[in-house]
Symmetry: C2
Subunit: 276 residues, 2 copies
């Protein structure tokens, strides 16, 4: 806590541009709560092709906030695509001030959660500012802020036991074998997916469960797969059948469903203590 208002939270956008409407709504929610001081970095509104500014602009904003001792938590603005392009550099040569913060986000921000967890920082999967635009999005914003400000257990995914991690399935698949792959040993890995056909989910599960490092996890739980485009022809099994199948083939324990996904119901999953 750095001022009378309460916890100081900075928002940066390591992937795509934040909607100004979402920013205004989230600022209003934070102001009404009165328990946090939300600072939306101007980089969130930059635009360069697909991204919220060039790699250098996004990395500089992120590193600036990481090094700022007055900031208690870093809240990623939204997903989309692009945080992988700066994740390795963002986690290198960490300033001491970066180690006393919480980092919250999901979806494409999972690349940063992985890199930062690997580097020993406190990270959690959870709703992001852009989620305020979803149906029921205000509840998602409060759930995230309740976790950031006071580690409210009501924000947590309800089935957590032991040490966990949560990832978008495609993001998890894309970071395997790269310099930002975290240690899955003994962790329960929660996955969720959005806008991928069943045949793609099956292919990604083949890849993820084929990884020897993922096979060291304690088990897998499946969140929601939302906005699944039609498979032509019908795939022959839904996402849970697919995940069960690949868990059985690979010897990973399937531990049931998880309350996470690309929707307003998305719960918080703190990543277990990193091994150092």
């Amino acid at each position: 806590m750095t001022n009378g208002v309460g916890m100081k939270i900075a928002v940066v956008a390591p992937s795509c541009t934040l909607s100004r409407d979402a920013a205004r709504q989230v600022e209003a929610i934070a102001a009404a709560r009165g328990d946090c001081d939300l600072s939306i970095h101007p980089q969130c509104f930059e635009s360069d092709g697909h991204f919220a500014g060039s790699d250098a602009v996004r990395l500089n904003a992120l590193r600036e906030v990481m090094a700022d001792e007055s900031i208690d938590a870093l809240w990623f603005a939204r997903g989309g695509y692009g945080s992988n392009r700066i994740a390795e550099a963002a986690a290198a040569d960490l300033p001491e001030a970066a180690r006393s913060k919480l980092y919250l986000g999901y979806s494409d921000a999972g690349f940063l959660l992985a890199a930062f967890h690997r580097a020993g920082l406190e990270v959690a999967h959870g709703p992001m500012p852009q989620d305020v635009l979803r149906d029921g999005g205000e509840a998602a914003i409060h759930r995230a802020l309740n976790w950031i400000v006071r580690r409210d257990p009501a924000s947590l995914e309800p089935g957590l036991s032991g040490s966990a991690m949560a990832f978008n399935l495609t993001v998890l698949s894309s970071l395997l074998g790269t310099a930002i792959e975290p240690d899955f040993s003994g962790r329960e890995v929660l996955i969720e997916e959005v806008s991928e056909q069943h045949y793609r989910i099956d292919r990604t599960m083949f890849h993820v469960t084929g990884s020897l490092s993922v096979r060291r996890a304690a088990g897998l739980r499946l969140g929601r797969a939302t906005d699944v485009p039609a498979n032509d022809p019908d795939f022959g099994g839904d996402e849970e059948a697919i995940v069960r199948d690949w868990c059985a083939r690979s010897g990973l324990e399937y531990r049931g469903r998880a309350d996470i996904g690309h929707d307003a119901g998305n719960r918080v999953v703190p990543f277990g203590e990193p091994k150092r």
Copy 2:
């Protein structure tokens, strides 16, 4: 050569169902050539959800043909999705008869090319029977048959020098770290893509070039990226800029374009001698 007609070629479908129209057209082309005896396995027309029969049905047909001493070459019917589900089993405990055959295909069949190359078999990337349905597809069929029947150099990708491999980019990404990953050391790796947005190509290139085993390749060449859906907003660079960028970041040599892709112009790329 096993009979008066010439080389005996079997077609099986380890992924999706072959079109009966494509089968008829390719049989007519082969009959008119008179230099090969084409045998389209009835499994090619089976259907089970997404696939040309269950995993067991597809694997059995494939293994049956692999063990058949009278067959000189195995031509994969088409891509789609699914050969990864049977690739590890298909490459296990190989019958001796499997070792004297050529295996030809691309796209999803790349999972089998990888597994079989790793197992010491002769494999090549090249057009498949279903390609006859493309504009100019008859030329693609002749190109493939000219390679299978008489290793016609005119079928080859024109820039080949040294030892090469060719993969659909998403397939390559999906097999990294699994039991069917081949040895890329010193090979030139040719990649092509279809129906993926630029941000997805960028994400997949991050994954592929982040792999330490891919970084042992001699270099990368880029085939065509066809049917690329619009990126919203415009990505900010085309597929060649993306591949150049990730090669530069990872220390891989970018060696220019390649004449392969999901189209009738797709050339043959024999995989270099496997290391045993």
